[in-house]
């Protein structure tokens, strides 16, 4: 008997894969972009099913919001001829690409089916202070947990990658402006 999470998962997954196929297959590129929005939304649904609420919201905000608008602006600024009929053509190697992707998918799935997931203890590792103490309270929900993992100075955290990510964003901003400005 199928249970609710599994059912929901299947529905979302089918819509997800369908919209992905539409993104790749549509002749009108704006239709592809719109299908991409659906894809992002369904991905957020998957995250919700995996108890990753924060990631789901961030997905909607960033991807379905900003990235989609970005893509649509780019489509506007780069007007292609034949928008309706053939603004999203395929090139000559689509058959080879199809073959490659099929084989890759098959092989990854095959590898997945062979896999045995380790449940062993990875060792004591290290912790920047044990959880459950005053310095490191147990996080009550997913958002607080992620916040703790990103920012905390007293617990184990990924502060340094966070700072580097911000530098990356800065560089990306500056770069996009420089590349994209009119002469």
């Amino acid at each position: 008997m199928i249970d609710l999470p599994t059912l929901l998962f299947w529905i979302v997954a089918i819509i997800l894969v369908g919209s992905a196929l539409l993104v790749v297959g549509m002749r009108n590129i704006v239709h592809s972009a719109l299908s991409l929005v659906v894809l992002f939304a369904m991905a957020a649904g998957i995250y919700l099913l995996a108890n990753a609420e924060f990631i789901a919201i961030v997905q909607i905000l960033i991807y379905a919001g900003a990235v989609t608008i970005l893509i649509l602006f780019a489509l506007m600024l780069t007007r292609t001829p034949n928008l309706r009929t053939n603004s999203n053509p395929t090139n000559r190697q689509w058959l080879a690409a199809l073959l490659i992707c099929a084989i890759l998918a098959a092989s990854i799935i095959f590898a997945i089916s062979l896999g045995q997931y380790s449940t062993a203890h990875p060792g004591t590792g290290f912790s920047f202070g044990p959880y459950g103490t005053n310095a490191c309270p147990l996080p009550p929900n997913n958002v607080a947990y992620i916040g703790q993992l990103l920012y905390s100075p007293t617990c184990y955290s990924y502060v340094l990658p966070f700072e580097i990510a911000s530098v990356v964003l800065l560089v990306a901003i500056v770069g996009a402006i420089v590349i994209g400005r009119e002469e």
Binding site: L16, A50, A74, C101, P161, V168, A172
Partner: protein
């Protein structure tokens, strides 16, 4: 019963669809969309791993999600820069066909 395999297989299929789009599309923005699909597939895989994580230390419980955050961050940055480049090339060449961008040809 939802198992890890569901997430992984879903991620694999999406990745390959995105790869197909990236390889076989002529419009540069379509290629970019394919890349976004690939990144999303990877995110799904990461989150799936974090959901089914049985590893003991508490700190590693959400590694997948942190990874997904950073991937989203970098993906956004990369999309911005890529689109800026596409617009710049469009201004110069009046085309967004990646088949035309072949100065490195023999």
């Amino acid at each position: 019963m939802l198992t890890l395999n569901h997430f992984l297989i879903l991620g694999a299929i999406l990745f390959c669809i995105g790869l197909f789009g990236a390889i076989s599309k002529r419009n540069a923005i379509a290629v970019l969309m394919g890349i976004e699909i690939m990144l999303n597939a990877v995110n799904i895989t990461m989150v799936g791993f974090s959901f089914f994580n049985k590893v003991k230390p508490y700190s590693t419980y959400l590694t997948g999600q942190i990874f997904a955050i950073f991937i989203i961050t970098v993906a956004a940055a990369e999309a911005a820069v890529a689109l800026a480049m596409i617009i710049a090339i469009y201004r110069k060449r009046n085309t967004v066909d990646v088949g035309e961008i072949n100065l490195m040809k023999w």
